[in-house]
Symmetry: C2
Subunit: 258 residues, 2 copies
């Protein structure tokens, strides 16, 4: 079901629905030559290296929505594909409370080399997939799946689900309206992060210029720690997204550039 | 005094002070093959194509501070060098109230081609210059000079001078403290735009990762419409910046990465 290209993986590539999923922090894989970026193995298991639980939720969601799902095959610490090409944010020298020795004092050339190897194939796959869905399905809706840590810098986070957007909030508004009616989930708009933290890069880069409906979903990772929670969350998200899409109506799926 | 490289111009390249200036919207030049991007000549004279007055202010400031000044040699409409590599914001399909026909429905490949030709040389020159100043002077302070239109979408703007910053506000704080004591200028922090509008890209990309002091200065363009106003504004800015730097103290010019 998965197809591998250099540096990226596309799950359910033949998906025929209007949704296109991305999961930028799906893996904590660090290629051997980076020497663990100077970090202990144990630290590479934590949220600083990836979004635990996000990949299984995204895969289950891709199946439910019949959506292609595009994922980089590298840890966000080597190259964060949800940050601009070659930016220092894509190769952070610090993450939460931890220094990342292998990212210290990188030159522009070193940052660019990582972007060419890891970010460019991801970006091209997302672009190609969105345009293909637009052409063959008449619509493409970008949804990016992330998870966040329940404890950040020693403080517990109450919020359980974040619905994030950049300048185009149509889909996020519709999802929020639905989720807020549901009991049992503490939800926030542009929480625990927002566009001012640079987290809406994929939405901004790919969805906004094409006028595509788009939303970023952040799930607190302690709520998706086992298979049954992951599938349960994917089912809820599939329902929210399909209901939200129906409430927006088909006429408004793309912005005309004419 | 100016040295030309492919696509960029470095004014006062041998400047020996700690300041490094950029002026991303110095020119309204559109290479012939872009066919005016489909716009009337008259529209290319307005603020949508460049920051009127910013270049002469930046050049006078470069002389006063003995600072190198780096400028792309292309209109922001062809490639906005204060936006991320290949982003749609760098080749806007719309600016203020105007459609830009030559930027409509650009593919990722077309956006990337513009980035390679115009953005990459600028970015490399800024990086090289900052590292050279750091090495030879022990400090590098990034100041980017812009102007804004007094009337935006039909509304008059009262603010005359904007002092903008991203995550590191040290220099902006010090400049604001000085400017606010002065009579006769309506000044604002992160106005008329701010980091949420994506305007702090150069600061974020170049200054933050190196821990360099940095600030973005936005001048209302009707205050710098002739030579004497431009030189007068440059003198005031030179004083503010030098006084701000002195108030911060030399010990704090860079953040140690050790």
């Amino acid at each position: 079901m998965a197809s591998e290209q250099a540096g990226i993986e596309v799950f359910n590539q033949g998906g025929e629905g209007p949704f296109v999923l991305t999961c930028e922090h799906a893996t904590n894989e660090v290629p051997e030559e980076f020497g663990n970026l100077g970090l202990d193995d144990a630290l590479l298991e934590t949220h600083i290296a990836w979004d635990p639980g996000a990949r299984p939720v995204a895969e289950a969601l891709a199946r439910l929505l019949d959506a292609p799902l595009i994922m980089p095959q590298v840890s966000r610490l080597v190259c964060d594909c949800n940050r601009p090409h070659g930016s220092a944010d894509a190769t952070p020298a610090r993450s939460e409370i931890y220094e990342i020795p292998g990212n210290r004092d990188l030159t522009l050339e070193q940052r660019e080399a990582r972007a060419r190897r890891f970010y460019e194939p991801f970006r091209e796959a997302v672009d190609r997939t969105l345009r293909h869905r637009l052409q063959s399905c008449g619509a493409a809706i970008l949804v990016t799946i992330h998870s966040f840590t329940p404890i950040f810098k020693g403080k517990a986070r109450d919020i359980q689900l974040g619905i994030l957007h950049d300048a185009d909030s149509r889909l996020a508004d519709a999802v929020l309206e639905i989720v807020e009616k549901e009991a049992g989930l503490i939800v926030g708009r542009n929480q625990p992060y927002g566009p001012e933290d640079g987290v809406t890069h994929t939405l901004r880069f790919h969805a906004l210029p094409l006028g595509l409906l788009n939303v970023m979903i952040e799930i607190r990772n302690d709520l998706i720690s086992d298979r049954s929670e992951q599938v349960g969350m994917a089912r809820r998200l599939a329902d929210y997204l399909q209901e939200a899409l129906a409430s927006i109506g088909t006429a408004d799926k793309t912005v005309s550039h004419a």
